[in-house]
Subunit: 313 residues, 2 copies
C-alpha cells in the first residue's frame, strides 16, 4: 500500500482508459478497495477497450462516447473528469462533454502538451473555463493501453499542473490532491513554460529516436545493421516503440516549441559535423566531456529521488 496524502472522491469519469487513465484509476482504487461509495466510469472510443478495463477491474462501469443518455448519466454528479486520450481529441471531447457537465465538476487532463489543451478548453467551455485545470503526469511507458496500466505508475513521479487565472485555488488543490493520492509530486508552471521544457527533454528525443530507426529501415543493409545493434541502440531507441498516435498528436499540438528545439538541435549537429569532417578531436572531446559530466550529475541527483524501475517519459 502506497503512503499517500488524504484524498476522497465519489465519482471519477475517465475519458480514455489506457495506460495513463487506467493507472490513475488503479492507483486510486487500490488505496481503499472497501469504500464502495467510489465509482470510476470509463468512457472510450472502442467498447473493446472499455470491456477490457472492466475485466481488469480498472473501472466500475463503462459508457459509450456516442450515447447521449449514457454520457449524461456518467457525468451527472461527477467530482472529476479526467481526459486521458491522445491530445488531438481534447477539443472534440470537451465539446462532447460540455452540454452534460455539472457546475461542480472539475475537469482536468493528462495531455503531454498544455497550450493546445488550454485553447481547446476555452473554445469548448467558454465562461466555464474555470472548471478546467490543465495537468500533465510525467509518467508513461513505451507500452500503451489499459493492459499496461500500473497502480504504482505515478509513485515518485512529477505531475505538472498549469493553473489558469480562472481556476479557484480550491479547484487546483483538489486536482493536486488527486495526483498526490497516487504518490506523485505535484509541481506548477505556465502552459507555455511546460511546452518549452517538454519539447526539449521529451518530445524532441522521441522524434530523434523514431528518426534513427526510420533511417536504418531506409538503408539497403538494414537487416545486417539491426543484427549488430546492441545496448546503446537499445536504450537510444526504447522510446521509438512508443505510441505512434500519441506522438503524432504531441508533435502537431506542440509544433511551435518542438520546431524551435529541433532547429537548435540541428544547429548543434551541424557544429559537430564540421568538427568531425575537420577531424577536430579537441572540439568533439570538449562537447562530449561537457555532456558526460552533465548527464552523470543528472543521473546522480535523480538516483536519490526516483524509483530505479522508472520508465516515465
Amino acid at each position: 500500500m502506497i503512503d499517500v496524502a488524504a484524498f476522497s472522491f465519489f465519482k471519477l469519469v475517465i475519458f480514455g482508459v489506457g495506460l495513463i487513465g487506467g493507472s490513475l484509476a488503479r492507483a486510486l482504487r487500490e488505496r481503499d478497495e472497501a469504500d464502495g461509495k467510489r465509482t470510476v466510469i470509463g468512457v472510450g472510443r472502442s467498447s473493446a477497450s472499455s470491456e477490457r478495463a472492466l475485466e481488469l477491474g480498472v473501472i466500475d462501469a463503462a459508457a459509450a462516447l456516442n450515447d447521449d443518455a449514457a454520457l449524461r448519466d456518467a457525468l451527472s454528479g461527477a467530482d472529476f473528469v479526467l481526459l486521458a486520450a491522445p491530445v488531438a481529441q481534447t477539443l472534440p471531447l470537451l465539446e462532447r462533454i460540455a452540454p452534460f457537465l455539472d457546475a461542480s465538476t472539475i475537469v482536468t487532463d493528462a495531455g503531454s502538451t498544455k497550450s493546445d489543451a488550454v485553447a481547446a478548453a476555452r473554445t469548448a467551455l467558454g465562461t466555464r473555463i474555470g472548471q478546467f485545470v490543465p495537468g500533465h503526469p510525467i509518467a508513461g511507458r513505451e507500452s500503451s493501453g489499459v493492459n499496461a496500466a500500473l497502480p504504482d505508475l505515478y509513485v515518485g513521479r512529477n505531475v505538472v499542473l498549469c493553473p489558469l487565472p480562472e481556476n479557484t485555488p480550491q479547484a487546483v488543490e483538489r486536482v493536486a490532491s488527486m495526483w498526490r493520492a497516487t504518490g506523485a509530486l505535484v509541481r506548477e508552471m505556465t502552459a507555455e513554460q511546460h511546452d518549452r521544457v517538454f519539447a526539449s527533454v521529451s518530445h524532441l528525443p522521441h522524434v530523434l529516436s523514431f528518426a534513427l530507426v526510420e533511417q536504418i529501415l531506409n538503408s539497403p543493409d538494414a537487416a545486417l545493421k539491426f543484427s549488430f545493434a546492441a545496448g546503446g541502440f537499445r536504450d537510444f531507441t526504447r522510446i521509438a516503440a512508443s505510441s505512434p498516435e500519441m506522438w503524432r498528436d504531441v508533435c502537431v499540438a506542440n509544433r511551435a516549441a518542438l520546431l524551435d528545439e529541433l532547429d537548435a538541435y540541428t544547429a548543434v549537429l551541424a557544429r559537430l559535423r564540421t568538427a568531425i569532417e575537420a577531424a577536430d578531436g579537441a572540439a568533439l572531446e570538449a562537447v562530449f566531456a561537457r555532456s558526460r559530466v552533465a548527464r552523470t550529475e543528472w543521473q546522480e541527483q535523480r538516483a536519490a529521488s526516483v524509483a530505479p524501475s522508472d520508465a516515465s517519459k
Copy 2:
C-alpha cells in the same frame, strides 16, 4: 563458471587495461585460476592504472610503455598482443611494439573502428601484417576504466573479426578461440562493412545523444529542463555518459562512414520537420508506426538471444 570453448595461452600482453582489456583478462583468468603457467601482462600509459589492475588481480605484471627493456621482456614469447586503447593510439602503439615483436606472436585489437586499424597496422608492421588480426568486441559500458571490467562482459556478445588476406586461417582461428573462451559469439566481415554498420547503429547514436545534452546545456533554462527530464531522456542519453576520449577517436577514425550516416539522418529529420511544420499527422504517424514495429521486432528477436542485463555498445 562460464561454459566456453577450449582455449589456452601462455602469455597475453594487453596494451590498455581498461574496461575492454581488463574484462578479457578477467574472463580468461577466471576460467582456470589454478593454471599458473598463464601470464597476463598489462602495458599502460599511466602507472596508476597498471597498479590498480594489479591490485584487482586483473593482470599478473605491468610494464611501462616507455621502458624499452620492460617492453622487450613483456613481448618476448607472447602468444597474443591485444590493443585495447582508444583507437587514435593504434598506430603509435604498433610502431612502439614492432621492434620487439616475435614472429610467432599474434596481434589483435578491440577498436570500434577497423579501416583505420588496418591502415595503421600496414604502416607499422609492413611485411609482417599477417600477424595482425583486426577485431572488435561489441561490448562496453558507459563506465570505463579497469574498475568497470567484468569477467562476464562478453558472454553472449558479438565479436567481429575482419580478417586480412595476409592472415593465416590458423591465426584467425586462434583469435576467434580466445574470444569464444570469454563466452562471445565470433562473426566475420570486411573492415569497410564493419565501419559502415557501426557508424549507423553505434557511432551515430552516440553523437546524437551527446548532442542532445549539449543542446540543453546551451539553453537558458537548462536547470529547469533537467529537473523535468524523465525515463525517456534517461535512456536516450545513457550513452552520453560514455568516454569522451574514446568517442572523440571513433568519430575521427570513422568520419567518412559517420558523415554519410549523419547526413542521411539529417535528411530524415528534415522530412520530419516538414511534416511537423505542416501539421501533417498522417506523415508523422506513418514514420512513427514503422519505427515502432521495427524496434519491437528487434527487441523480441534480441530478447531470446542476449542477456537482459546487456549494456553493450
